[in-house]
């Protein structure tokens, strides 16, 4: 276990270093942030002075050295736009993204598991065929289109749900949460549905096909021969085995979900990391870009490690340390 964690940390560090370097090596070419800071009629000399002050005129190596040194102390640079340390900005935005991903994952789980299992157990029934048909159409609709349609129908035409933003949030120990107010939850509905729409069909199909495969196995037949109840066979014997590949794939999909927050947050103006990332691209707020990459990289490594540990817990034939 210990060796496993050490290995993971080393891996994470390498990933971070690579990301840091990539991010950084293009940093001084990413447009000129100074122009966004000053009014248009400011003179060239004033701008030059500001560049000097920001250290934008130093050589690449000097800047990279400074970046690495600061990164050691948890300082990933200073956001030009927010006038605050980039990490602080990201940590302020993270709750919004995490809550969105959480809500979307919840929707995915709550729908895909029952639907997937049902259509695996009763593949010939109408509902199963219907679910499969809907899911393949679902896979084929880009998430931004889903989002647009949702806004148009539920916000603009029906006036049922708000169309943008997070609504009212509550500060819980420094975590800006939208889960605790009715307004916040109402704002969460459309974005989380939109975000889940890309993964939901995939998960239904995945759970269905895995479950069908498991139901064909000898040990399930044996379980029937032992006279166990259907519930026990489906929910314990089959489902637990179905979970294994679903968890592995789920870990990867969670990463994809985070990527798709960039799309969803943009359409819904959801004040999370993804939205911030695209704005940072437009503003050439390079410190924020690099910090975002590093944080998301770290997030992926953590998620994968957790997935591996959970996998190890559920699958007795795999010990965590050997992975």
């Amino acid at each position: 276990m210990f060796a496993f964690i050490v290995r993971r940390i080393i891996q994470a560090t390498v990933v971070m270093l690579v990301i840091g370097f990539i991010g950084f090596s293009v940093k001084h070419q990413l447009g000129d942030p100074v122009r966004d800071l000053v009014g248009i009629s400011v003179s060239i000399e004033e701008r030059e002075a500001l560049r000097q002050e920001l250290g934008l005129n130093d050589s690449f190596l000097v800047q990279y050295g400074r970046f690495l040194k600061n990164a050691m102390h948890g300082d990933l640079g200073y956001s030009f736009f927010y006038k605050r340390p980039a990490l602080d900005v990201i940590f302020d935005k993270a709750p919004a993204t995490i809550e969105l991903v959480f809500a979307a994952s919840l929707i995915i789980l709550l729908i895909s598991v029952p639907v997937g299992l049902y259509s695996a157990i009763y593949p010939k029934r109408f509902f199963s065929k219907f679910a499969m048909g809907v899911s393949i159409v679902g896979v084929s609709i880009p998430v931004f289109l889903t989002a647009i349609v949702l806004i148009y129908v539920f916000a603009v035409q029906l006036h049922w749900l708000p169309s943008y933003g997070r609504g009212e949030t509550v500060d819980v120990f420094g975590w800006e949460s939208g889960l605790l107010t009715i307004d916040g939850l109402r704002h969460l509905v459309l974005p989380s549905i939109a975000l889940s729409s890309i993964m939901l069909p995939l998960f239904i199909r995945l759970i269905r096909s895995e479950m069908m495969e498991v139901l064909e196995t000898e040990y399930i037949k044996y379980a029937w021969a032992k006279g166990l109840s259907r519930r026990r066979i489906w929910m314990v014997h089959a489902f637990k085995n179905t979970l294994l590949p679903v968890i592995t794939v789920g870990g990867v999909q969670l990463g994809i979900l985070i990527a798709f927050t960039i799309l969803t947050e943009t359409v819904f103006q959801w004040q999370g990391m993804g939205f911030m990332f695209l704005e940072a691209v437009e503003r050439s707020d390079t410190a924020l870009l690099v910090a975002y990459l590093v944080v998301v990289g770290a997030l992926f490594v953590v998620v994968n490690t957790v997935v591996d540990i959970i996998y190890g817990l559920i699958n007795p034939t795999v010990t965590v340390a050997s992975r």
Partner: protein
């Protein structure tokens, strides 16, 4: 959900009618970048300044000066203007407002990177007594009152000393944390109650506001930045917000037709132009080629189709109402004439040029550029167009990276001279003239006239000089003017926005009435 919505709406109405507390939910394309009014000279920051601070004087809808913190003013000599200040005004901090604060504010303006250029003609401000200030300039300065609209009184006591980090409280930092970044004390109608940058800003009515005659009855303004045009419109249509600005042209129809929503537009002062670089493209040195391009561009079509009528076609720099405006200088779309001129210049077969334009700076900037490119191809000029976000565009613009560059300009002084100083005068790095003249157009006569107008205090003479400048630029086809963007706002019908908007796009939220 719907039931809940109705109940909450009823509740809101109930509260509103009994307690009289009125909240305005406002959505703009961006929120203020700082609480320090001197950190950036931009429309957004000036809008913020008018909400939280008060200027000496401000513009009315008909472009007149309205006394605010200055009750009266008089010219003492050619270089001095005396302002008599309002008495009994308090800052948000509770400190009383005096002449000292104006002197302090002007001093700070002269230190600000963004404002120091504008206040360069100002030598000093002197407090004569607690409520009288003399403002002195180096030379006779015609635009002194125009500049007074930028003097938003800051609380000199509040901003003096050092903060918790040992940093001077009055420091102006563009990229770092400063006291003024997160704290404000102005005399304006609203106090910043809450601010989360890029997410939300909450203004609360200042209880001790001096202007008790103002009809304004909004107690709280919640500003949410919504950058994407459709999302902002959706927010208004779905009832999530009460007031949006700006409204993009393509949404005029739906917003205008929407029940219970009021759309207001007004012609603004920002001109959109294309500059033809005579250095990188020798063909542009030929006045006939430049004229041909001016004739080839269908301003009317672009305004009608792309801007959906939300712009006024332009044949010169400053719009109507500016002193240099000359009625006769109108767009001259005539393809046949354009082709003739090209032939006369010996470019019947045309040539190839590059063009650059931003894609997120001006209203429909990318589409305008595409349309112009397509129009030029009709007279044989093949255009290779590149569009990019403004963060990348400005460095390219500085390098004059393409043969044709797009630039929009709004005069900070609300005066015609400002256009020419930045866009049309010969490039002079030291004097700071022609800084945005990517066409490298240079005409000594224009320079002389513009410089002369700076010191000419006889307004009638000055107007003639500036009109002559426009005439020369028109005849020379020094640049290709497109149109002046309209300003647009939309709100629910109970929000009386017509009364508070103006051509400067500084809605005076303090005076806003919500029924």
């Amino acid at each position: 959900m719907k039931g809940f919505k109705i109940i909450s709406l009823l509740l809101m109405l109930l509260i509103a009618s009994t307690a009289g507390a009125k909240t305005l939910k406002l959505a703009m394309d961006a929120d203020p970048v700082s609480l320090d009014p001197h950190v950036q000279l931009s429309g957004g920051m000036l809008q913020y300044s008018h909400t939280v601070f008060d200027p000496l004087v401000r513009w009315t809808q008909d472009m007149k000066f309205e006394p605010r913190l200055a009750e009266k003013w008089e010219r003492i000599d050619a270089n001095t203007m005396r302002f008599h200040l309002r008495k009994g005004v308090k800052f948000h901090s509770g400190n009383p407002f005096t002449a000292k604060d104006i002197v302090w504010t002007i001093d700070r303006l002269k230190k600000s990177q963004d404002f120091k250029g504008l206040f360069e003609p100002f030598t000093s401000a002197v407090a004569v007594d607690d409520f009288t200030v003399d403002v002195k300039t180096t030379k006779p300065y015609a635009l002194l009152l125009n500049m007074a609209t930028y003097v938003f009184a800051m609380d000199s006591v509040f901003y003096t000393g050092t903060d918790a980090n040992g940093q001077e409280k009055d420091i102006i930092l563009k990229t770092g944390a400063s006291f003024a970044l997160d704290n404000e004390s102005g005399t304006g109608p609203f106090i910043v109650a809450e601010r989360e940058q890029g997410v939300k800003m909450v203004y609360k009515r200042f209880a001790a506001y001096w202007d008790t005659k103002s009809p304004g009855n909004v107690d709280e303004v919640v500003l949410t930045p919504i950058k994407k045009d459709p999302t902002r419109v959706a927010a208004l249509l779905s009832g999530d917000v009460d007031f949006i600005m700006p409204v993009s042209p393509q949404d005029f129809k739906i917003v205008g037709n929407a029940k219970g929503i009021n759309l207001v537009t007004m012609s603004g002062g920002r001109v959109i132009t294309f500059q033809l670089n005579q250095e990188s493209r020798p063909e542009f040195k030929d006045v006939r080629v430049r004229q041909a391009i001016a004739y080839a561009v269908n301003n009317e079509g672009i305004v009608k189709k792309i801007m959906k009528g939300t712009a006024t076609t332009a044949g010169q720099q400053g719009p109507k109402g500016y002193v240099g405006y000359k009625e006769s200088l109108t767009p001259r779309y005539d393809i046949a004439k354009a082709k003739e001129l090209m032939k006369a210049a010996g470019f019947e077969k045309g040539f190839e040029v590059s063009m650059m334009a931003p894609n997120n700076r001006y209203v429909s900037d990318e589409k305008i550029a595409e349309a112009v490119a397509s129009m030029l191809s009709k007279i044989g000029i093949k255009v290779n167009l590149k569009t990019m976000p403004k963060a990348q565009y400005w460095p390219e613009f500085d390098n004059r990276a393409a043969d044709i560059m797009m630039i929009g300009w709004h005069s900070d002084t609300e005066d015609s001279g400002n256009f020419s100083e930045f866009l049309a005068m010969c490039f002079d790095k030291d004097a700071g003239y022609g800084q945005y003249n990517a066409g490298n157009y240079c005409n000594e006569k224009v320079d002389a006239l513009v410089l002369g107008a700076q010191v000419e205090t006889d307004l009638a003479k000055r107007a003639i000089m500036l009109q002559e400048v426009e005439q020369i630029l028109y005849d020379d086809a020094a640049f290709i003017p497109m149109h002046w963007q309209h300003l647009s706002w939309a709100a629910k019908n109970n929000v009386k926005l017509e009364a508070i908007v103006n051509a400067q796009n500084f809605p005076y939220f303090g005076d806003l009435v919500v029924e």
